[in-house]
């Protein structure tokens, strides 16, 4: 706990919108079994803030009444939770078995090369985050790429540039 407080004072403290904290507080106060619902609460927190930085984890630990270390233990255990901010467009390349057999590795490599980042990273302009995900249940369309909620099926290496361009353009 002591260590966590120190971190709060250091420079990596991020200012997050007050309304977000209020929204989360309202949600948590409505949960009956708070400790047993920690994962649900963290899902909600990530939905509100977009990610789970230390500040949000500390807030949850106080609201639920459990040590921050326990919250961190859960956040770090589950891959669904992210502690880093993500880009505006989340590019998720499916690396489930069906997509892998359909050469999804090459698609992932092509996105990484085109964006100049590795998987798990975000471009400097905060536009794109590149991730690999497991089967999204659309194996018939393998290889599958999600950009946000949009599905791109049967993606070929040649399509990669176009897909990125499409979302870049949409932002202009």
């Amino acid at each position: 706990m002591q260590k966590q407080h120190e971190q709060l004072k250091t420079n990596d403290f991020v200012e997050l919108p007050k309304e977000h904290y209020e929204e989360l507080e309202t949600y948590i106060s409505g949960v009956k079994d708070k400790e047993g619902s920690l994962i649900h609460i963290l899902h909600k927190a990530q939905e509100i803030f977009g990610y789970l930085p230390k500040e949000v984890q500390l807030f949850v630990s106080r609201q639920v009444g459990i040590p921050a270390a326990k919250v961190y233990g859960v956040v770090s255990f589950y891959s669904f939770f992210t502690q880093k901010p993500v880009g505006k467009h989340k590019i998720s390349v499916c690396m489930g078995t069906a997509c892998f057999v359909k050469k999804a590795e090459k698609i992932l490599d092509a996105f990484a090369a085109e964006l100049g980042i590795n998987k798990g990273e975000t471009t400097e302009d905060m536009l794109f985050t590149l991730r690999d995900v497991r089967c999204v249940g659309a194996c018939g369309l393998a290889p599958v790429v999600f950009v946000g909620d949009n599905v791109h099926g049967h993606v070929a290496v040649e399509d990669v540039k176009d897909i990125i361009q499409q979302y870049r353009k949409g932002d202009e």
Binding site: Y78, F100, K102, A110, A113, V133, R134, V157
Partner: protein, 493 residues
Amino acid sequence: MENVKSQENKQYRIALRNSGLIDPGDISDYIAFRGYEALGKVLTEMEPAEVAKMVKESGLRGRGGGGFPTGLKWEFTLKAPGDEKYLICNADEGDPGAFMDRSILEGDPHSLLEAMVIGGYATGANNGVIYIRAEYPLAIKRLQVAIDQAREMGFLGKDIFGSGFDFDLYLKLGAGAFVCGEETSLIQSVEGKRGEPTKKPPFPSESGYMGKPTTVNNVETFAAVPPIILNGPEWFQGIGTETSKGTKVFALAGDINNVGLVEVTMGTTLREIIFDIGGGIPGGAKFKAVQTGGPSGGVITELDLDTPIDYESLKNIGSMMGSGGMIVMDDSTCMVNIAKFFLEFTQDESCGKCTSCRVGTMRMYEILEKITNGEGTEQDLINLNDLARSVKDTALCGLGQTAPNPVLSTMNYYKHEYEDHVYNKKCTAGSCKALLSYSIDPEKCIGCTACLKVCPTNCIDGKAKEVHVIREDECIACNACFEACKFDAVIKP
């Protein structure tokens, strides 16, 4: 959902009986297809022990992978001392390449709810939990709607069918951890904790959720229960093989013409599934292997395609039934790379609780990486085999115990491919990047620039009407230039 339609006659629908037929958002559709009739029968005409016995006699075994007799599991929990008991549905569906459960959850949620109330009655539980992966938002939404409707109609809640039996259930979300599909780990996660497996015994049927007797069953297992109650155990007994009764749903994917879900009777051969129902391999390519059991399973070769599938036969040929992932691979798939793919998955998903699994899967992955990079040695092959055997024998939970299977089975059936990578530095399937180098034949290249335009890494140099050159160190072997060149000038390794 994408259910494979062709050759419907070879398929037999029990678990998927309503999927795609009824409106999952309307309970009256389900009721019209004899929905909640089995529950009525159970609650008004049968004792809990009779229900468990009936399911035992039917021969139903767990569809989540283990194949444990369901009725027997129910009897254990029913007989366990204490009056507070729980029933959990495992809807974590962690195999990365499978979506059987998702289809039932989205297409026929009431069949699961009905079966869970029956299961609660048969095991003495008044509370149920559906543990569902967060990656299935639509399934979560439909389940919630179904639960609300069932409550409203009195199929959930107090004094169901006026029988005096109370049962209610709620959803708990996963958060992306494969190990949480393992039942002891799942129970930890349902309690809101890190999902680390615990030692068995005690089994959940003695001490599970909150330390109380708990039954954990898979979605597809539950889906078979109402028809068994309605049609009787003899009906179910009559379908399938000596040791495995009923049907199994598979998610057919990979290099196959008809991708989607198929439900077949136990004892159907792999050849029938792949070639008759699945329509064979696309593009005239040659069948190479089929993988079942996901990250816990193994590959099956052409030689074993006529094996009638059941829990035992698949084990005998070095694979397993698993939860139903069935990935078909043509000869462009490298078997060493496939083993590496699964090991990357398991080492990433290992919870780290026991050293043998944490370090062992990592070491195996590193060796496979070395081999696919063309740096493998004879000693690596020996070490890989030794490691695989030792992790299998010493890991605490099913994840670690089965993680070596993809390595052991590919090493067994495709030893020559490993040797080719190690001794000849060759990947005959043409998929290991480091062993491939793309180049352009200066004699054939006319300088049309087509390849340069498609190259995702911009590693092709050249001007119009001049010979183009590939900078090999930046090439990711994506094959795009090869496909783009109309003059056969790109040389594929």
